[in-house]
Amino acid sequence: MRNTFAEALYKAATANPDVYVVVADISPAGSMGKFREQYPERFINVGVAEQSMIGISAGLALKGCQPFAYTIATFSLYRPFEMVRDDLCYQNLPVTVVGMGAGVIYSTLGGTHHTQEDIAIAGALPNMQIVSPCDPAEVALATAWCAQQKNGPVYLRLGKAGEPVFTDNAVDPWVFGKLRCIQRGSDVCILSHGIIMGMAMKLARQFEAAGKSVSIVSCHTLKPLDRAGIAEALKSHKHVVVVEEHAPHGGLASHTKQIAWDSRAQCRLDVFTLQDEFIHNYGSHEDLLGAHGLSYDRIAAGVGLS
């Protein structure tokens, strides 16, 4: 995702001289190096100074530019929180705050590098939009969208590296603010976003092996959430499953439960999220998800597949 983002950003910057990237001492992976070489005046490295990264992005946007503030998710959203709130959201400026490596992807770096409540926090801010692409192909589309939108601030939640593509044959196009059906079925609907989509795909295959017709949906826009789309998914399937690498509150899972209540949904609804806990585990990304209770086997058992 990191490289795809850099490539998409480079393309956007080539097409639009107002696109800037303000980074906080992050390695110029992939095409970010090309961006820096080609457009040195629009590649701004603030060093280890994330509050200023956001403020500078706001200043650029106040002058009509289209900046991306880019670093590891905890440092792009949590560290400069009041700058995100006041400078970007209160002033409603079209700045994209890129959270790289969200969730518990930094699985050996400890809790200071985990971003498990970012959607809840960003989602609580008026004017903030949240996009969480599920694969590199969606990263490219989302980045291109962010580079030209003028609605206001965006929190773009990314994975890290090496993610597979899930949406090559998606039945729906990527449209900001709309659910995106990757495949359409009639019995079970799996709602997910971000790179944990891989687990959702695996779950779908197992449902299908058990004779179920399965919808898989990329809920890439978390704010504004496509509430009508989710209500429809709840209505048109007997069983809806949410798989989300985020805390239990304020993310897709809790919103889906609210929508289920509001729309008097009759289906079975199972949600699987990270825990509302700091964990002190190390290992692979999968190990960390497992420590939070998001192992594939537990999910499969939870939905009645094992």
Partner: protein, 277 residues
């Protein structure tokens, strides 16, 4: 005809008269509300006047290629008074200050006429100024970004991130002022952080061209900016008096926020009118 934006000629005597007029206007407004940061506005009256009426260049249509951002947002009454004087804000805007149908509050709000950024939370302004200055540079436009910081605000870590940024990026198109009135809400700034002073040394150490002036001397403020060497961002440490111009407000912390009573209003008006004569 040369259409390039031009600098107004600066008449210090006229500036003094304007500043008295602005202080009176702020005093009038103070009678409409329970609280406003009158002491903070009086402290930077000459600075903000000099920026708008002496430093910012004007295009033929009255617009400016330059930008002023009030980083110490609580001092915005002086900005409002000047914007009214320039015809950017209306008398009605001012009459509705802090009222339900109005647009103006105790801190500047982006989107209001003449207001370039929302401030009020301290330590945000200078980074936005850096971003604006980078945008000017990226577009190869000549705009100068002016800002006023409070001395309390200089205690914010985020201010120092931006101080570092401006010099590292060589942003000579930034002109910042510290309204050094030596007061913050709880007392003297120099007592809160004695080792923070002298301030000038700190900005010099961070790579800014730095100059110290009497912040109530219009000519000195103007000269400090127009006679700058250039090549670096400029920090003007302006020595000021909180509540300047009204004897009982000067250096009395309660006037950070309080509005004068009727009697106090009368006394203040008398003093300002006497100074005008």
């Amino acid at each position: 005809m040369n259409d390039a934006p031009r600098l107004n000629s600066f008449d210090a005597a006229a500036a003094r008269q304007r500043c008295l007029r602005y202080r009176k206007r702020i005093l009038d407004i103070s009678q409409q509300v329970q609280a406003l940061h009158i002491g903070s506005a009086y402290s930077c009256t000459e600075i903000v006047d000099c920026v708008y009426n002496g430093l910012m260049r004007r295009n033929g249509d009255g617009s400016s290629p330059d930008t002023f951002l009030m980083s110490k947002g609580h001092g915005c009454m002086i900005q409002y008074a000047i914007l009214e004087d320039l015809g950017v804000l209306t008398r009605q805007d001012m009459d509705l200050y802090c009222k339900p149908n109005g647009i103006l509050g105790c801190h500047p709000d982006y989107g209001n006429p003449g207001i370039e950024a929302s401030t009020g939370s301290l330590g945000h302004g200078l980074s936005m100024v850096v971003g604006m200055a980078l945008a000017e540079r990226g577009r190869r436009t000549s705009g100068v970004i002016y800002t006023v910081l409070s001395d309390g605000e200089v205690q914010e870590g985020s201010t120092w991130e931006a101080v570092l940024m401006a010099s590292s990026f060589g942003l000579s198109n930034i002109v910042a002022f510290v309204d050094y009135n030596n007061f913050q809400s709880l007392g003297r700034t120099s007592e809160t952080h004695p080792s923070f002073f002298p301030l000038v040394d700190k900005f010099v150490a961070f790579g800014w061209e730095t100059v110290e002036v009497d912040g109530h001397d219009p000519a000195a403020i103007h000269d400090a900016v127009v006679s700058r060497k250039g090549g670096k961002p400029l920090m003007v440490v302006a020595n000021t008096t909180k509540g300047k111009g009204v004897s009982y407000m000067e250096n009395v912390p309660i006037w950070h926020y309080r509005s004068p009573s009727k009697d106090e209003y009368k006394k203040a008006l008398e003093e300002l009118e006497a100074a005008q004569r």
